[in-house]
């Protein structure tokens, strides 16, 4: 699509072009090599855990998959809740900045949201323990008492508020800046003519956004959500500090027995781990690789089906 040649005349190969394009290829290859190295490292370290005899693995798991399954579930579940919270919010914020807020304010507002990205995850964790969890706990109590019939909200309620919902809220806040930033850039790239055409046809601002901005931005929004998910899946320290983990698989949002995430579990158990446990933790890291990969592949697939709307075309 961007090739500067036509079939009839072959473009002259300039030195600059050659250097530039090979340096980009080099950069891409470095990434491949780096990843291959990381992957090789992980696989080699994982093998002892994959073939471990029952009884040697942590948590008395009979084999590695029994050990890792609650963690995989917890990772996906926490990231999913976070994404459900963060996606509408970040689209809303990005729209607010790109299409609603007075233009002079917009830049400043964007900057304010970017500030969130500046907060290190340890601080998010501390804030989650000290401020957010105690703040949410009364609401949780209320929810369990009054809405306990709803499976997600069934009790017994956590006494500290350090539930998976709290952790997911922290995750959502952590994902917001990067998701908002991408959505905002994408929204701002909507062709001006499309927007003006919609408005000229008598559309309200929302109708204009619905018909012109959102379809154009769909691929970008999905990419943004995936970037957010990437952050949510791999987040370590904030979850390790905020969540009250247990060895369970459940969908309850408000109890103190919450499934743990892979990354947080590594952070929690690694310092005291010896022997096969170390390998098991690294193997769970390898599983996280695969999970992320699966999620991203689905996203890629969705984006590619929608490529017709992508800006560069």
């Amino acid at each position: 699509m961007t090739a500067g040649t036509t079939g009839a005349t072959k473009a002259k190969l300039r030195l600059g072009d050659r250097i530039f394009s090979s340096s980009t290829i080099l950069a891409g290859s470095i990434i491949l090599i780096l990843l291959a190295a990381v992957a090789a490292f992980l696989v080699v370290q994982s093998i002892p855990a994959l073939v471990a005899k029952p009884g040697t693995l942590p948590n008395n798991a009979s084999n590695f998959w029994v050990y890792v399954w609650p963690l995989v579930f917890g990772t996906i579940w926490a990231a999913l809740i976070a994404l459900v919270i963060a996606t509408p919010l970040s689209i809303g914020i990005a729209l607010f900045i790109s299409h609603y807020a007075p233009r002079r304010l917009a830049q400043t507002l964007g900057y304010i949201i970017d500030l969130l990205a500046a907060v290190p995850s340890v601080v998010f964790g501390l804030w989650g323990i000290v401020v957010l969890a105690p703040f949410l706990q009364p609401f949780y109590t209320w929810l369990v008492t009054n809405m306990g019939w709803f499976p997600l909200f069934s009790g017994p309620v956590s006494g500290t508020g350090r539930t998976i919902l709290t952790a997911a809220i922290v995750l959502a806040v952590m994902c917001l800046p990067i998701m908002t930033a991408i959505c905002r850039e994408v929204f701002l790239q909507t062709p001006r003519l499309h927007e003006e055409a919609a408005l000229a046809l008598g559309a309200t601002r929302w109708e204009m956004i619905k018909t012109a901005v959102l379809p154009f931005a769909r691929a970008g929004i999905i990419s943004a959500a995936m970037l957010g998910l990437g952050r949510a899946l791999g987040e370590t320290m904030a979850i390790a500090l905020v969540l009250s983990p247990a060895l369970v698989v459940n969908f309850f949002l408000l109890t103190s027995q919450n499934p743990n995430t892979i990354a947080a579990n590594i952070a929690l158990q690694f310092p005291e781990a010896t022997g096969v446990t170390v390998n098991a933790l690294l193997a769970s890291g390898l599983v996280l690789f695969v999970v992320t990969l699966a999620v991203n592949s689905v996203a890629r697939y969705v984006v590619n089906r929608r490529k017709a709307f992508s800006g560069a075309n």
């Binding site: 072009d17 394009s21 969130l116 500046a118 290190p120 340890v122 703040f135 001006r192 791999g234």
Partner: protein
């Protein structure tokens, strides 16, 4: 939404059937006041410990969304009501996002500012400090050097790879890179640390090797995919017309990329890079593994242990002494310092963008 449930007779006047200007603001402040009153009563009756300001704003704003929709539906009809609802929802989203930010910044500033403005915080390290006193100079230096080096490694590689994907990429290699960048996004930070450790232990054949540079490598592993993904996304948004116009003028491709594509997307790229720096500058686990822990100064990136701010925050919090207050003070002050550093970097990025980016439409 039921857009046609209430059909109102059309009138010719331009202002008939419309809410007066400023009514949204009126309703918003009104609903805040209502919930403020509600929580004040709860507070006065002793049901809650202190006045719940966050609850007031949150529930007031949500209440506002409902009220403005109903009012608008009654006065202005379905389409306008939907428009107002979306407007208010979008504003709500923004306000909700501000709540944690404000709460978080307030927590950090309230706990950390007092300690940070003491000059010793930027003059002293923690060497031979066991209780009160001491500072984070060694950690500030470590963070700046390690993150700076990680940026120097990641941004050229990441940006070039993004350019490759957006401008050149075809076939297997491009697909492979895209695929593996996606995979890299999922590397847990501690694995990046372990990898860097294993790599250097192998190269130097010394299991005791620790240096700031190892931390930079670990951070690069985490940073590169973020740079690639965000830059690629931004580069793909540059309209093809610009590239075609450039080609039509006989500009070679590499110059087109350098002089047309990159400047056009400079704002987005800068944002992406700043976000990726922010993503890694707060990493704790890998740095604790590969940079170690020290209470003393170390300016040399390539040898010996180096302290960084996130590790400083974490260890001060996790290893409090019998008198925890000085430790907590230092932890919050260091957290505040870290946020300020990222803010300054962000600000610098924005100024640079402003100076170099071409002026256009928006």
């Amino acid at each position: 939404m039921s857009t046609a449930t209430i059909a109102r007779p059309m009138t010719n006047s331009l202002t008939a059937g419309k809410l007066p200007r400023g009514s949204s603001w009126f309703v918003l402040v009104g609903s805040w006041l209502i919930f403020g009153g509600l929580f004040a009563i709860l507070h006065a009756s002793g049901a809650t410990k202190d006045f719940n300001i966050i609850g007031t704003i949150f529930f007031g704003t949500v209440f506002f969304d409902v009220v403005i929709y109903v009012i608008s539906l009654l006065v202005e009809g379905g389409r306008r009501a939907t428009d107002r609802l979306v407007t208010s929802l979008v504003a709500t989203a923004f306000i909700i996002a501000l709540l944690p930010l404000v709460s978080l910044l307030w927590t950090v500033v309230a706990n950390g500012l007092g300690r940070m403005i003491q000059p010793s915080f930027f003059q002293d390290s923690m060497r031979n400090v066991i209780d009160a006193g001491g500072g984070a100079l060694h950690a500030v230096v470590g963070t700046l050097e390690i993150t700076g080096m990680a940026t120097l490694i990641s941004v050229p590689i990441g940006l070039l790879a993004a350019i490759y994907l957006a401008e050149y990429g075809r076939g297997h290699l491009a697909r492979g890179i895209t695929f593996f960048v996606d995979v890299m996004m999922g590397i847990p930070s501690i694995v990046a640390g372990l990898f860097a450790y294993a790599l250097f232990a192998l190269i130097f054949n010394d299991p005791g090797v620790r240096s700031g540079f190892m931390g930079s490598i670990a951070l690069s592993v985490l940073m590169i995919p973020v740079v690639v993904r965000s830059c690629e996304e931004i580069l793909r948004l540059v309209p093809n017309e610009l590239r075609e116009a450039s080609f039509a003028l006989g500009v070679p491709k590499w110059l087109t990329v350098l002089k047309v594509v990159l400047p056009t997307s400079l704002a987005g790229i800068t944002t992406g890079i700043m976000l990726s720096i922010a993503r890694v500058i707060g990493e704790t686990a890998p740095l604790l593994l590969v940079c170690g822990f020290t209470a003393s100064m170390n300016y040399n990136l390539f040898s010996d242990r180096m302290m960084t701010l996130p590790v400083f925050v974490y260890t001060q919090y996790a290893n409090q002494g019998a008198n925890p207050q000085p430790f907590l003070d230092r932890a919050w002050a260091a957290a505040l310092t870290l946020i300020i550093i990222v803010m300054l970097l962000n600000l610098a990025g924005r100024i640079i963008t402003k100076v170099f980016a071409p002026k256009y439409g928006r």
